[in-house]
Symmetry: C2
Subunit: 326 residues, 2 copies
């Protein structure tokens, strides 16, 4: 018998191993290893919680992403939901449905990546579940964070006249995925944006602390789809300037050869940048933003999104946002 096999280690052996690697935190009275995690509550703070599923063959393809990168990404994209409220991540819960063919080494790579990413954002692994999957690899991640009471930024606060901003650059992740699907090797910067996205926690905290944003969301389904969520919840419309979309050098290089690539910046998804609206018309010039933010349009009365090209004609995107069932 070899310890490399999951069936030798067993479910509880696996949990013990992960428990040994998980860190501790001041707010955590009891982490992994009981029926529940037990945590201290702070009355001046509100609790933020979000749950995400990541399913093999839907959200990721193991031909392209290593188990360690997958662990990192699972933690980061979930923490991105805390950033999208302006909060601070504290605790993660990681549930894994493992296909029988998965080795202990692969699961340890997965949990090492997950733990490293959690630590990067100051969060701790506080619990989870492991079981056998008769189908693909399934991950479910729940994140808890905190925010000063009354400071959470919702999707619903955008007002006509507000400026629309986005952090970082758009479309890199979706472009990398398209190249992978075409059997090509994406440039390293693009690939990193797809395999190991970053959660914009510091930027979100700055926006909530300084009350700079009227509405906030992270871009997971694509700029147009996620802006659509803000517009619907705020009962307003938006005008976007196509030429203002922030694009990386690598993205621009590929865009030069094929103009349709711009639709990946509009609707590709998995950017995990922050998209927000603000009464401040010139925020982008402030030096404090890391990554930088770019103004890409304005909120107007009405509904829907109009995308203007440099010549003021309307642009029609060929892609919708990602919907799991359509």
């Amino acid at each position: 018998m070899t310890e490399n096999e999951l069936s030798t280690l067993g479910e509880f052996g696996l949990i013990r191993r992960i428990q040994q690697q998980a860190g501790t935190a001041r707010h955590l009275i009891k982490g992994i290893g009981d029926d529940c995690a037990v945590q201290i509550q702070q009355p001046e703070q509100e609790l933020l919680t979000s749950t995400d599923l990541l399913i093999e063959g839907v959200h990721f393809n193991r031909r392209w992403i290593s188990m360690e990168q997958l662990g990192r990404k699972a933690a980061a994209v979930n923490i991105s939901d805390i950033a999208a409220m302006g909060g601070t991540p504290q605790s993660l819960f990681f549930a894994v449905g493992c296909p029988q063919k998965l080795s202990v080494v692969e699961i340890e790579d997965l949990s090492r990546g997950f733990l490293a990413e959690a630590e990067h954002y100051g969060a701790v692994l506080a619990g989870g579940d492991t079981c056998r999957s008769p189908g693909p690899l399934f991950l479910s991640v729940t994140v808890q964070g905190v925010i000063a009471a009354g400071s959470a930024i919702f999707r619903q606060g955008a007002r006509a006249g507000d400026a629309i901003y986005v952090s970082g650059a758009l479309g890199d992740s979706a472009l990398a995925l398209r190249l992978l699907q075409q059997g090509k090797s994406p440039p390293a910067d693009l690939l990193a944006r797809h395999l190991t996205p970053q959660a914009r926690v510091t930027l979100g905290q700055l926006l909530s602390r300084q009350q700079l944003a009227s509405a906030l969301i992270d871009i997971s389904d694509g700029l147009l789809a996620d802006l659509g969520h803000i517009l619907e919840d705020s009962a307003v419309g938006a005008d976007l300037e196509l030429e203002c979309l922030p694009l990386s050098d690598a993205f621009r290089n590929l865009l030069a050869a094929d103009r349709i690539v711009i639709d990946l910046a509009l609707a590709g998804g998995e950017d995990y940048e922050l998209l927000f609206t603000s009464a401040h018309q010139n925020l982008a010039g402030c030096a404090d933003f890391s990554p930088p933010v770019t103004r890409i349009g304005s909120i107007r009365p009405g509904s829907g999104i109009s995308i203007y090209q440099a010549n003021r004609s309307l642009y029609h995107c060929s892609r919708g946002g990602f919907d799991h069932f359509t």
Copy 2:
């Protein structure tokens, strides 16, 4: 096109429908429909959190359980982890990986059962995730509850000399499952214990409020396995009295025909009864317990579990507890 098809309704249409059915609660500032749920924190309380996976072909078989029952069970078994700390459930997060063949009606049955069960325990659906599954139906549930600060009952407090108690009756769920697997129709009481188990929230609250238990766990993997978790965490051993195991009439009827059935009460799993240790030697006589509790043995120094028969000879159980990987 018919609204019966998930692809017509779409991911966001489905989320909107569930959102309309979800209730509200005083602690919940923002529920479904933003990047995170936002909740008030109470400083005199601690936060309890637990995550469970339920996977088709591993945890359930849709030939035997309706979608509504499955929704009820998913909520109840997760809430059982709050009961196992002595706490009060507050919020649930429900993530569903849907096979393409699942209809909107089936998903609504699932969520109706889930919501009804949550409401039964005073908990609210506060968030979740839905996506397509290329494999079986996958459910992931996260529950949050609260407990008076310092009152949570862990697995680790059992001491030599403590009495061991269990609530309700053991083995009904596992026996019903065995009959289903054999193609037989279980008696209605047994079947209900398997398909729609109850979380022992009121009993758990009583144990924590009156400080009656030194260690507490809910029985999901089987009496021996879950008692084993208490023993390991408390560094003690246990003597059990086989004749003292609480058994239902339906269980006794089948036991009379086949003595080996007793092993399902010892190691069958999915009882979701509370198992606890206490310095009080005669708790079972107190009238307050609903369901009643039964003393089944004692904690002793050392390690491991000795099971005594009426003639004082040792009994050897033929089954281990459930382990997902062995």
